[in-house]
Amino acid sequence: MTDLDGSPGRPDVPAAADLIHNNARLIRMRWLAGIAVLAGTAFGAHVAGAPLPALSLYVLGAIILAYNTLVKYASRRAGARRPALITTVQIAFDWLALAAFVHFTGGVESPAIAFFLFYVLLASILLPGRTAFTYAVLVIGLVVVLVVLEAAGVLPHYHVIPALPESLYRDPLYVTAILAFFGVTLLVIVSLAAPVLHEFRDHQRRLATLYQSVQALPSSLDLPRVLDQLVHGVTHALQAKAASIRLLDETGRQLKVTAAYGLSQAYLEKGPVEVDQSLIDQEALRGRPIIVEDTADDRRLQYPAEVLAEGIHSILCVALIGRRRPLGVLRVYGWQPHFFTEKDIDFVATVARQGAMAIENAMSYGELQRADATKSQFVRAVTHELRSPVVASQSLLRAVLRDLAGGLNDLQRDILGRLSERLNALQMLIDDLLDLAAGKVEGLEGALAPVSVEAMVLGIVDRLSSQAEEKKVDLRVDYVPRGLSVMASEDGLSRIFLNLIGNAVKYTPAGGKVDVELEQRGDDVVVTVADTGIGIPEVDVPHIFEEFYRASNVKQNGLTGTGLGLAIVKDLVERYGGRVSVRSKPGEGSTFTVVLPLAG
């Protein structure tokens, strides 16, 4: 049997929780047993006047209560860790106590012999089939040994029921008959109870597993996986023949098998299901679970011959209803006619509700991803087309401005200079867009390698130092060399710090300073870029990493920029598994913090 998650089946033992629970129950019942032995002896010996070995029975009752105290203590100490051991030890003690009880109450004549049935039944419930069988054989052995030892005179025999002949315990026919019936009864109990109980427990476990996986489904965004889990899970939970999910196509007129379990390829390829022609699906899609109790005798089927040939004798069909529209149907196929119970219908309906939510989530996520990829490819194509004319125009203008096409008068030079500036800004915007689009398109497969953050930050500070000096901004870097590397691409990492440190220099007025700090914190490297610049107004802070967002004070001050730099920073930092944040006060400055996981 395959499990829901495809892992091999678990070993055939009850869950530890069952054992712990049952151990506690055994302990509770044993208090009663001990007291019953004491009370029963008092009544039997002193009131009813039975010739019982009262002292021995009192001692036995006391021993039962004593070891129950020990078992209770042990199971509190170790029961949760080793419930099976606790169970085995208790049962062994109980057998000895029960054997003693049977012995003191007449051996083969004792009605207490029937108590052993109770233990064998318990073992069948609690323990794996083979172990329960071993237990039954041991119990039979124990009783046989007791009875034979008494008959042979090795153990004394207590004759407690005066009405029975005194030598009955030595009568070969009687003893053999009692032992044979006793043994057969125990073995029958085990062979009947164990498989039934295990099947029941398996079933329960499958339901629990299915329930859990169905609960978890809506958070899974992988559509084929969601569908597969549903059909597998439902088939196993109901022990049905098969299950399938058919989703409506774009027209809403045809159902297409999107996931199936337990059906032959030929059956799946029998043809499309037209909603118009499938009464069952039509009804189900209206939201009511539909049952075909017997496929041999149901006129609603579109492919009756194929259904029978496939060995499908009953069908349960439930719609998968999304938030706004029906998505399709979940069908479960039964081995026999009248396979499904009312409970099964409720159960499948619940699974279908959760499943529909999961399917819808996965579908919208898939659409989102496709839209995002298409958008990014589009942006990339457009920016390439945009960049070519812009760079060609810039190239020409620069040549003209260098007087390579003849001399210019001052006005012409001024105008062409302005033109060139505007083109530069346009090119910056396109380059940023291209970065952003490239990141989105290639982000997932881009190969990352360890890159030294220290070397990168130092290099960028060095590159920007002349610009800072020109602006009279004090640009400093503070770090202790530790050889810190992160998994990134060299270009991307350079882009991150060039943007952040470049911005800090750009938005800091003369006389201000920019401090870059680099330190290790746990498994992360933390780079902070703090400036004493114009700062970011509070309302803008939450949006500052959004694409095309530019803080209001930047626009007012006429500072140029594309509004994409920080979006790119965020995109890249997140691609490398890190995060970026900002603290800022208008007029006082901003501090950007980048946290990246260390390589290795």
């Binding site: 960049r387 812009v390 760079v391 060609a392 190239s395 620069r398 040549a399 090119q427 380059d431 291209l434």
Partner: protein
């Protein structure tokens, strides 16, 4: 004064470069695709080739440079395999095509970015010409 062949499909880029190179006293010739460029090499016998990386296809520039560096035996190009090649890249830094001048992979000598900066272009061209005329640093 050197003969320089520009292979680029963008006539405005060609014009801008022509202005820059002529301003620096060089002779500029141009071809608008790889095939035409390769045909012109034996005719013009250029001292340097400026090659656009991306013409009709993203790899046309690379293919042309490979043909120039390792021509088929007996091809008229065989005599020109040592001509310095300057590759023009329109590609922005973080896009996928990014190679260093690697003899195995990309047989070019240097790169220059678009848009063309006249001073940078001329400096680069002159440096490459000086190197090819005086290999190993002088005669």
């Amino acid at each position: 004064m050197a003969k320089i062949l520009i292979i680029d499909d963008d006539p405005d880029i060609v014009l801008a470069m022509r202005l820059c190179l002529q301003g620096a006293g060089h002779d500029a010739f141009d071809a608008k695709n790889g095939q035409e460029g390769l045909r012109m090499v034996p005719e013009i016998k250029p001292d340097l080739i400026i090659l656009d990386v991306m013409m009709d296809t993203t790899t046309e520039g690379f293919q042309v440079s490979l043909k120039l560096r390792s021509p088929d035996p007996g091809s008229p190009l065989a005599a020109y395999r040592r001509i310095p090649i300057l590759m023009l890249t329109a590609l922005h830094s973080t896009t996928d095509l990014r190679f260093g001048p690697d003899e195995d992979y990309l047989p070019v000598d240097a790169f220059v970015d678009k848009p063309i900066d006249p001073d940078k272009l001329v400096r680069q061209v002159d440096a490459m010409l000086a190197k090819s005329r005086h290999p190993e640093g002088g005669e």
